[in-house]
Amino acid sequence: MSLDVRVGAELPELSPPPISRATLALFAGGSGDHNPVHIDLDAARAAGMADVFAHGMLSMAYLGRLLAGWAGQQRIRSMRVRFAAITPVHAALRCTGQVVAIDDQAGERRARIELRVSLPDGTTTILGDATVAID
């Protein structure tokens, strides 16, 4: 299989359903991250937050789905992100990716993908990039 990619191409966008409190409870169990600021309103308030907020790794997992759905997970060579803003509970996220470069690395063609997760008001919650083998 060979991926049809070119610089500037956009990956099919991923827009998961709004993040519910149940999502956060499931993610705590699945990921093993039981930090109470994500699942316990009392703990979140004690930490100075108005409400619980989503694990950054939940959003990064969506980016993993975005990349794996596009190219197949075996082709993902690296992913890195910076968590730029908190993701509030009930947020409906938009996860996008764009091919920004194609070059040869370690004996294979690789695309560099710029990654972004944003809130409906346009706030960027995650900026990052990934490298994906393309043939």
Binding site: P16, P17, T23, L26, F27, G29, G30, S31, G32, D33, H34, N35, P36, V37, A43, A46, A47, G48, H55, G56, M57, L58, M60, A61, Y62, L63, G64, R65, L67, A68, G69, Q73, Q74, I76, R77, S78, M79, R80, V81, R82, F83, I86
Partner: protein, 152 residues
């Protein structure tokens, strides 16, 4: 509180996780993954995988597989309510699958302060290997500590 730079180089206790299919399905349910390759063993095998694949960001779960995965922060005098996840990076060497026993080893690779001590940053470098020694992934995460009373 400024993080003492002498923590740089400190090794953290290793963590080990036997990846179970049920755990992967729970993770996939949480992240909305519906591709049957990640949920159904027969579909995974038809796609050439030996078992259910471990999704690309699941590896942080290995590090959480200790009785108190945040104890190293407490040892540094950092409260869990003060921390935010700042950055996360994965470099992949091989796929992992349900049934694999994965081991994570981590060390603190950097620590620094910004904004006059209002924020501390702690960087951890981790390796995930299969029990037979096969390198699976390298991780780097940066934790941001929000200090309630910045140094004056």
């Amino acid at each position: 509180m400024a993080i003492d730079p002498s923590v740089i180089g400190k090794e953290l206790p290793p963590a080990e996780l036997l990846v179970e299919r049920g755990r992967l399905r729970l993770f996939c349910r949480a992240i909305g993954e519906t591709d049957p390759v990640y949920l159904d063993v027969a579909t995974a095998r038809r796609a050439g995988h030996p078992d259910l694949p471990v999704p690309p960001t699941f590896f942080t779960a290995v590090g959480h597989e200790r009785p108190d995965p945040f104890d190293w922060l407490a040892e540094l005098g950092v409260g869990l309510a003060e921390v935010l996840h700042g950055e996360q990076e994965f470099t992949y060497h091989a796929m992992a699958y349900a049934g694999d026993r994965l081991v994570m080893r981590s060390r603190i690779s950097d620590a620094y302060s910004k904004k006059g001590g209002a924020l501390d940053f702690i960087v951890r470098d981790s390796t995930v290997v299969r029990l037979d020694g096969r390198a699976i992934a390298d991780l780097r995460d940066t934790i941001v500590v929000r200090n309630p009373e910045p140094a004056r």
